[in-house]
């Protein structure tokens, strides 16, 4: 019964490599000349990113493609990284041996779940051009780099090496390279532009790997550069044990037969995640197998019964056995802020929302959905939005229509969030791009091509929820934009058009230009706020200016509140208007008396942020008359923030902040004494 997979694999090795390739090229990623090039780049870049991540190095990767023979479609590909380098004796294994490495056995999120690795590229080069692949690699501390040409003996199905040696490795600026690997390959392939191109693959890779610096020189000699936007490496992920819900019969059979444990309960506790001591006993009861049974001696029926107990089909005490969820530290999400940075460096836009959902479990496998939505800028308004799909940080570029991630996007009625979507079906249209990333220990694809994720109702629902939340953000943004446009119009009206009307009519009639303050107040008849949030190149700060105009006939008083990224470590500077902290991330200023026709400016700067971190400030007000351009403060929202703060500060400094947190009721309306003889909305006759 055992080792079916191994047997199959060894059978396969006996097939001539060329035949193996020919038969399987569609799922190896070499089914067209254009895709072959993307696959080759992908394998090399994935290796570089994985190696850097493992060694905790911030990756700097350069990719160059040259056309060697246009008629025969022969191109040269050079991929260089600054990874830890490969020891000389391992180079042959990494590049010449199929399925080298341990990542196929560990249960954690890894890039390597896709493709057959760099060996496939070496094979493809050998088969299409007859050329070996040149590898140069240097480890830190060693004075020279190892060089070798790797090929494949297609008759013996074995790696070959030639021209092995060591040499000095210099950077372009003449300094010597500290560590890294460079692969130079010649292959039959075609360079294409557009949505399915090396350029797009690298662009997408750069979005989900904001810690990487990627440079691409295309065949026309044009250099594309995606800078590093964070110094933070992805979290190191832990390997976890399989969860009973995600196990299949074959795997369970192999695990029991290889087990050296003396008791079934110990086996269950030690080899699975989510199984407590109590659960291990209950599983034995449910499976009707004695807990003292040696796992190795279990028969096929017992193993099957155990699997049924795992799946809750067999009960203990009339109930399915309760299992804990698997730990989720095996996942490495990109996280909201970094997705934001990744997106904003590649796409110019006006609005970005990103969201990382909490980890969930489906069929015993932890997974996590992350989404990003970017809107506006130069993106075309009449075309379907660009969909950027990722599985474990690897871009998915083909089979968009059949992918779970696309279906999740299509399941949302985007019309209510401000995107065009004829018949509320299909991919929405508009100047937007939607990013969707599934991080999982076990990514299920629709086919071996590994380009589309297979349906899973739970994952779709999770992704859909994320979309809805982002959609609400977009709607809010669009509503705000509309309001702002209206306000801007009003300002143009009173600042430009009205004075022109006054002057021209006076000229025609030969009369003096009339005073306009009365007309202006009548036209506006409101308090208006204008907010500007701009990045200041010189000071490297984000400057915020909130301007309030009182275009009413009365004195007004308000408390103005503004959001700021306090939690992201921003500092508030040059805040001359003072005010006070209202809650985490919310600052408040009391404006006691805004005279009719008067303008007040609150300005401050935010330090310790980078460009693009904070582009929109939300403004709220407290006061009875509406402020155009601001929203009425939702006190529940503040209360919620404060509640969270209290929870966090409970054991440390509860007393210190006492006077910072006035009870909400007492804040309410600002107490304003109206000036003598004037009526205000707040006070009546003074």
């Amino acid at each position: 019964m055992t080792g079916i997979a191994e047997k199959l694999a060894s059978n396969q090795k006996q097939v001539a490599i060329s035949e193996f390739f020919e038969k399987n090229k569609h799922f190896l990623g070499f089914d067209s000349l254009a895709r072959s090039l993307i696959t080759a780049v992908k394998e090399a870049v994935d290796n570089a990113l994985d190696a850097c991540e493992e060694a905790r190095i911030l990756p700097t990767i350069s990719v160059a493609i040259e056309k060697l023979d246009v008629k025969k479609d022969i191109v040269k590909l050079i991929v260089e990284d600054n990874g830890p380098g490969i020891p000389q004796k391992s180079i042959e294994k990494v590049f010449g041996q199929l399925l080298f490495g341990s990542r196929f056995h560990a249960i954690r999120q890894s890039r390597g779940q896709q493709g057959i690795g760099i060996t496939g590229v070496v094979m493809y080069c050998q088969l299409t051009t007859g050329r070996t692949t040149h590898v140069r690699s240097k480890i830190a501390g060693e004075p020279t780099a190892a060089v070798v040409d790797i090929g494949l003996d297609t008759r013996k199905n074995k790696a070959t090496k030639a021209n092995q040696g060591r040499e000095m490795w210099y950077n372009a600026d003449g300094s010597s390279k500290e560590h890294g690997t460079e692969v130079t390959a010649q292959l039959k392939a075609k360079y294409q532009k557009g949505r399915q191109s090396v350029w797009q693959y690298l662009r997408m890779t750069s979005i989900v790997n904001p810690h990487a610096e990627i440079t691409f020189t295309d065949p026309d000699g044009e250099v594309h550069h995606w800078p590093r936007v964070t110094e933070r490496l992805p979290t190191k992920v832990e390997a976890i044990k399989p969860h009973p819900h995600g196990i299949e019969l074959g795997q369970l059979q192999r695990m029991t037969s290889e087990s050296t444990d003396s008791r079934l309960t110990v086996f269950l506790r030690m080899n699975f995640s989510g199984v407590s001591a109590r659960a291990s006993k209950e599983l034995c009861v449910a499976a009707d197998v004695d807990e003292k049974t040696k796992p190795k001696s279990m028969n096929a029926d017992q193993i099957r019964a155990l699997l049924e107990a795992f799946q809750g089909e067999r009960l203990a005490n009339g109930k399915p056995v309760k299992l804990l969820n698997p730990p989720t530290n095996c996942l490495s999400p990109i996280e909201e802020l970094l997705i934001k940075k990744g997106l904003s460096k590649t796409i110019d836009s006006r609005f970005i929302a990103t969201l990382t959902r909490a980890p969930e479990v489906t069929q015993g496998n932890p997974y996590q959905v992350e989404v990003g939505l970017i809107f506006g800028g130069n993106m075309p308004a009449d075309k379907p939005v660009e969909i950027l799909r990722f599985a474990n940080r690897v871009p998915l570029m083909y089979q968009q229509g059949g992918c779970l991630l696309t279906k999740a996007i299509e399941s949302v009625d985007w019309r209510q969030y401000g995107l065009d979507q004829p018949g509320a079906k299909g991919v929405p249209k508009g100047p937007a791009a939607i990013l969707i990333h599934l991080a999982s220990t076990n990514v299920q694809f629709t086919s071996e091509a590994k380009e589309a994720l297979a349906d899973n109702a739970e994952v779709i629902e999770e992704a859909r929820k994320a979309m809805l939340e982002m959609g609400r953000g977009l709607r809010k943004h669009l509503e705000k934009k509309k309001k702002m446009a209206k306000t801007k119009e009003k300002f143009e009206l009173i600042n430009d058009i009205l004075p022109a009307i006054a002057k021209k009519s006076a000229d025609i009639l030969g009369k003096p230009v009339p005073d306009l303050s009365g007309s202006i107040t009548q036209i506006m008849s409101a308090v208006i706020s204008e907010t500007e949030t701009v990045w200041n190149k010189e000071t490297k700060q984000t400057d915020v200016a909130i301007t309030l105009f009182n275009y009413t006939t009365r004195v007004r008083a308000y408390t103005i509140l503004a959001t700021w990224p306090e939690k992201s470590g921003a500092t508030m500077i040059n805040n001359d208007t003072g005010g006070r902290k209202e809650a985490t991330g919310v600052w408040a200023w009391k404006l006691e008396s805004l005279q009719p026709g008067e303008k007040t400016v609150i300005s401050y700067s935010l330090g310790d942020l980078e460009r693009g971190d904070w582009t929109e400030t939300d403004i709220f007000f407290r006061g009875s008359q509406d402020v155009i351009g601001a929203s009425k403060m939702d006190e529940k929202f503040l209360e919620e923030i404060r509640r969270l703060e209290r929870v966090l500060t409970d054991d440390s400094s509860e007393d210190e902040d006492e006077d910072e947190f006035e009870p909400i009721e007492s804040i309410g309306e600002p107490a304003v004494a109206p000036p003598n003889g004037q009526t205000t909305l707040f006070g009546g006759e003074a």
């Binding site: 119009e489 009206l493 058009i497 009205l498 021209k504 009639l509 009369k511 009339p514 009365g518």
Partner: protein, 365 residues
Amino acid sequence: MTRRHTPEETKAAMHVIVGEMYDRMVKGEPPTMTLPVRTKNNIGFDKKLGVYKYGKKQSIRDATSLGSAKQLLRALHVVEFIEEMLVAGKSSTLREMYYISEAWGLGKFGSQNESNNLAEDLEIVTKCLREDFKLRPEEDGARMIGNLTLRERNRRGEWMRINARDDVGDSGYGVPYNVEAEKIELLEHDIDFIMAIETGGMFDRLIENGFDEQYRCGLLHLKGQPARSTRRIMKRMSEEWDLPVVVFLDGDPWSFRIFASIAYGAIKTAHISEYLATPSATYLGITADDIVAYDLPNDDLSKKDIEALKAELTDPRFADGWWQEQINMMLELGKKAEQQSLAKYGLDFVTETYLPEKLSELGLA
């Protein structure tokens, strides 16, 4: 009858509009411009004049929104521009004014439609004609053929006598944009009626077939929705020579509208209906009946056609029984037909069969 104004009268009338804006600002209020509502809901039949005119509904354009404020500013620029022309003794086309507005900064027009509409607004409010404003239309007038003689003052100031049958080529006499007495005098004719025709193809067909001589009529090519001068000269011929006017158009909702503007006055120019409309004009065809009776090749009504027909059902100009019947019949048929579909029965069918039959119903043949 709307009368012509002297430059001084025109200027004074325009200053009333400017004064309204100015006075409101002095009072501390947003400037405004008051003008009649220009939709079918505000036109009514004037029994004395026999045409449809604007009713009493007024709309106030005030400067509380950016769009209206810009309209007011544009109106002021136009007033200033007209005053300059009155002083200099010049005139300009509406299109020229549109381009001149490029220099008006915030007051410049977004499209020529805007400038045309504003010129009409000013006409309505001041009760002046655009001729008083020294503004000329861009659209050229109609072509005319038939045994009728008129006198036109040419650009050298000399009067020329022109017979629209003997002194013209196949394209006929071109009607100038100004057909007022200072430019055109109607001298004499030897025809029994005037026939206005929608399409150039049909106009040329009737000429080629010698219809004007055989049936003793003047033919007038409308070129779609007729220009003001076309409607004005029809009106003058009908009144001064006491001639019947028959109108021969395609059989579709848009042709019905053309007829209404000829006979009852257009909604857009209802302020000068009595000056442009020919209340005695008769709709000859193509009628909804004709589509059936002559089994004409036809097209399905489009969504827009249907909307237009439905709007016509509630248009006071189509309130009479015959029109209601025709419109409803066309809606039921769901079909429309072009004038030239008559060619189904040969090139001479229209002149030998269709028109004689239709005209004899009216006692004109």
